[in-house]
Symmetry: C2
Subunit: 132 residues, 2 copies
DNA sequence: AATACCGTTGACGCTTACGTCATGAGAACG
DNA sequence: CGTTCTCATGACGTAAGCGTCAACGGTATT
């Protein structure tokens, strides 16, 4: 059943990633598909993790950070403490994202300013100069 | 006069960069200090260019892009056409920055949502459960 | 002269997240 | 049986931007 076990290609199609990516994630211990002979078969658990991995990437977590978060979940007893920590890490990331956005806002404003300055200069250069 | 010619160290102090960085930029033909024997001496032109380099980096231009823009300026006759092109490149960068900011905004909102969801879960886990 | 600096040129290292080969095994098709 | 697919492993390549040696030269001070 494709629903419980998926080949690498099915995974690629479903999540829009390359085989290389999945093998890479496995090598980083983010995924741990079972083997049928040599071939990888991805379980439900792998899919859940991959979903979280891709989500984490959107948030700008590094793969290493994601691995740690993931490992906390199925490694850790004491769910409450784990969740606490997860939230903390998430908050830090959120702050960082906000800082990034602020910097980006500044850069955007500055660049806008530069551009309108340059445009004025361009207009001046194009405008026929009156003889004195 | 330090005002017209600066040593590598003076440059580093003035612009808060390392010697390695300045040599790296020279190797990439972004700067072209003159030599006094072996030593580099940075001219007014180098400083003007470095200012633009650092500004460009803030805007997310790659060093290669910056080099091209810089070279357009002192390479090109036909200033008007050059400026035109510069503005075009700048506009593209501005659009890209805005796209990035929008993505960042989305990620921030999503992460906020995830966090508040997780916090509610945490509260539920902490709240003593009433016996039925 | 010896020490302490400042400067120089290589050249390799590092990070992240994969892309791209080269090579080979195993299965399906005609 | 030969070709073609899909998959596997392993290793090197890439992008950007420097950091960090190593080994050496000239200058200034003590």
């Amino acid at each position: 059943m494709t629903d419980t076990l998926m080949t690498i290609r099915e995974m690629c199609d479903a999540y829009d990633v390359t085989p290389r990516t999945l093998r890479f994630y496995e090598s980083k211990e983010l995924l741990s598909p079972i083997r049928q002979g040599q071939k990888r078969l991805f379980t439900h658990r792998d899919r859940a993790r991959l979903t979280l991995i891709l989500r984490g990437k959107r948030f700008g977590f590094s793969l290493e950070q994601i691995r740690q978060l993931l490992d906390m979940w199925d490694g850790g007893r004491g769910q409450v403490a784990q969740l606490d920590r997860t939230i903390e890490v998430g908050r830090e990331r959120l702050d960082e994202l906000r800082r990034q956005r602020d910097e980006l806002d500044n850069a955007i404003e500055d660049l806008q300013g530069q551009l309108s300055g340059a445009e004025r200069m361009l207009d001046a250069m194009r405008t026929p100069h009156a003889a004195e």
